[in-house]
């Protein structure tokens, strides 16, 4: 399985547009494809394909449960917890579940063996296929939960590895959730827009993929007359612009209605063919 992560740094540059249409095009061309929406905070890919869920499971984080009868309030867990997730109050040892990373340290070091770990559901994953025929999965973080990392990890692990191509639609930014999405990827597709914002955040995305030693290519979305200077700027970052998609109100409007651009506006197919070709070169 060859895995491609679509990321951007800046939000709203078109990650989901490129990942959904690429998965569809791979499938059209006879490659078995899988699309995983790992933007578990705001998963949107299923708005663009007809998702038929077959399997769903909860994602759990293991948080400490303290047996008040055994706890002698020695304070070791509170002292050692690196995330300040345990507070010892006069009458009760309280667990702040939102801060807990589920590392299991407290349970291991408690001298009284007063701590066991209990599961807390923080989200869920759904796996299945699309009506269009390719494999699909998405992760959904529960409202109020701080970290999507365990959801991303479980989705990537549980999803079938039988497809030839896996495309991951990553969250915005360049921090832990993006790193988790990229882990084990063979290629990263960096989507950006020709603005100072797009460039600024592209630099962060390039820094992450470079540190993880993942080959990458850049796609410039909403390309217009004022964009050429940005192609030059990207070249100076030692990066290659492998394709550009023009600014077109028709694209925006099809996208707004949750439609695949390649179905609505087939004239843009060569842009996506170009990306597939460049990915092929990157893997060679």
């Amino acid at each position: 399985m060859y895995s491609i992560t679509v990321l951007s740094g800046k939000g709203g540059t078109g990650k989901t547009l490129f990942s959904t249409n690429l998965a569809w095009l791979f499938h059209q061309k006879g490659t078995t494809a899988q699309l995983l929406d790992v933007d578990a905070e705001e998963p949107n890919a299923s708005l663009f394909v007809k998702f038929i869920p077959i399997h769903a499971q909860n994602v759990e984080k293991w948080i400490p449960h303290i047996d008040e009868n055994l706890c002698d309030r020695c304070g070791l867990c509170m002292k050692e917890c690196q995330f300040s997730a345990i507070t010892i109050a006069p009458k009760k040892t309280a667990v702040l579940a939102a801060l807990c990373h589920g590392c299991g340290l407290c349970a291991k070091i408690c001298p009284q063996k007063a701590i066991t770990e209990v599961p807390k559901t923080i989200g869920n994953i759904r796996l299945g296929k699309t009506e269009e025929g390719f494999s699909f999965g998405e992760g959904i973080l529960n409202i109020g939960e701080p970290s999507a990392v365990p959801v991303i990890r479980q989705l990537k692990k549980t999803a079938s590895k039988d497809s030839e191509i896996r495309i991951l639609d990553a969250p915005p930014g360049a921090s832990c959730a993006v790193v988790e999405s990229l882990a084990g990827s063979d290629f990263a597709l960096l989507v950006t827009e020709p603005t100072p914002f797009g460039m600024h955040d592209l630099r962060a995305a390039i820094a992450v993929v470079s540190e993880m030693k993942i080959p990458f290519g850049v796609v410039l979305n909403r390309f217009d007359a004022g964009s050429t200077a940005y192609v030059e700027e990207i070249r100076h970052l030692d990066a290659e612009v492998i394709a550009t998609l023009p600014f077109d109100r028709k694209i925006a409007s099809a996208y707004a209605e949750g439609k695949l651009i390649l179905k609505e506006l087939p004239k843009y197919r060569p842009v996506f063919e170009q990306i597939i070709e460049a990915i092929g070169r990157g893997s060679a």
């Binding site: 951007s8 740094g9 800046k10 939000g11 709203g12 540059t13 989901t16 905070e41 705001e42 949107n44 708005l47 663009f48 050692e80 690196q82 995330f83 990373h101 589920g102 590392c103 299991g104 340290l105 291991k108 070091i109 973080l141 409202i143 109020g144 939960e145 701080p146 970290s147 999507a148 969250p171 915005p172 930014g173 360049a174 921090s175 832990c176 959730a177 993006v178 790193v179 988790e180 882990a183 603005t195 100072p196 914002f197 600024h200 955040d201 962060a204 995305a205 820094a207 992450v208 540190e211 993880m212 217009d224 004022g226 109100r249 925006a252 409007s253 996208y255 707004a256 209605e257 949750g258």
Partner: protein, 289 residues
């Protein structure tokens, strides 16, 4: 805030900041809480006067001369950050969450925790007003904590300068940086766009705001890109009793202004006019509250 990225948070925040300059009776401090991709400084001629190292947390480091390669650390690490290579533990700092479980598991004292410089907390001035933002290094953890630092510093500056309000350009999503952005906030303005994904993310953002009990109202950006959807969104929000404080039309001046590095309000045009109207009728009363 926005939930979905790219809906126009920074465009709106920069223009509101610029407008409050024209009303010295309601001064503000400006803060950019999108520490993963901080862009507000690019529109407001930010002059950095002070840069503090941000130390988010600690990470585990192996002393190879002490490591015997037993693999205990690898087996307790739940973040797949440790791999044994040639009988020595190697920790991948990108995956280490700094929990210290490996330190306790190691019988040979070969692992220790060290503080890591994970970014910068910057403050200075922008278009004549105090400005604070955070710059998290790519791939780092603890973005929520840096957001908290940004907000804290902005509040301190506000108190020192006797400025009553802070405008925060929030982080996208609904996870830690977004939650930290809205913590302790008086009111949220959610910027959305008329699209299937915009609506989906707006709903999750509103649920998050409800969960943390912070009041919010909604602004629809690029409303004329899809009139039907805009009306539908507005209708839906009305049914839910959510205050829609206004709409901005799609306007090429936004792109032109962004490329020039100025807030669109300085350029003029339909979006700027709408922003000025919303600011006068909705934001100014909020700031003078």
């Amino acid at each position: 805030m926005s939930g979905k990225g790219g809906t126009g948070k920074t465009t709106v925040a920069a223009s509101f900041a610029y407008l409050s300059k024209t009303h010295p009776e309601s001064p503000i401090v400006i803060a950019d809480a999108d520490v993963d991709a901080a862009n507000l400084h690019l529109l407001l001629a930010f002059r950095c006067e002070n840069k503090d190292q941000y130390v988010g947390g600690k990470k585990a480091f192996v002393e190879p001369s002490r490591c015997v390669g037993c693999g205990e650390c690898e087996s307790v690490c739940r973040f797949e950050a440790i791999k044994m290579e040639e009988s020595c533990a190697r920790i991948n700092p990108l995956f280490c969450e700094g929990c210290k479980a490996c330190v306790f598991a190691c019988k040979y004292d070969a692992i220790s925790m060290e503080s890591v410089h994970s970014g910068w907390l910057r403050d200075g001035s922008a278009i004549g007003m105090p400005f604070v933002d955070g710059d998290l290094f790519p791939g780092e953890e603890t973005s929520g904590k840096l957001v908290t630092e940004v907000r804290k510093r902005a509040n301190e500056n506000a108190e020192r300068e006797k400025i009553p309000s802070v405008i925060v350009d929030g982080a996208p999503g609904i996870g830690c940086p977004a939650i930290s952005s809205i913590t302790g906030t008086y009111a949220i303005i959610i910027v959305t766009e008329p699209s299937a994904s915009g609506w989906h993310d707006l709903e999750r953002m509103m649920e998050t705001a409800d969960h943390f009990k912070v009041p919010y109202s909604v602004m629809i950006n690029k409303s004329d890109l899809n009139e039907t959807y805009s009306q539908w969104v507005e209708e839906k929000l009305k049914q839910k009793g959510v205050d829609v404080i206004g709409s901005l039309p799609f306007d090429e001046n936004v792109m032109i202004a962004t490329r020039k590095g100025i807030p669109v309000i300085q350029m003029g045009g339909p979006a700027a006019e709408a922003l000025a109207r919303i600011w006068r009728t909705k934001i100014l009363p909020l700031l003078s509250d």
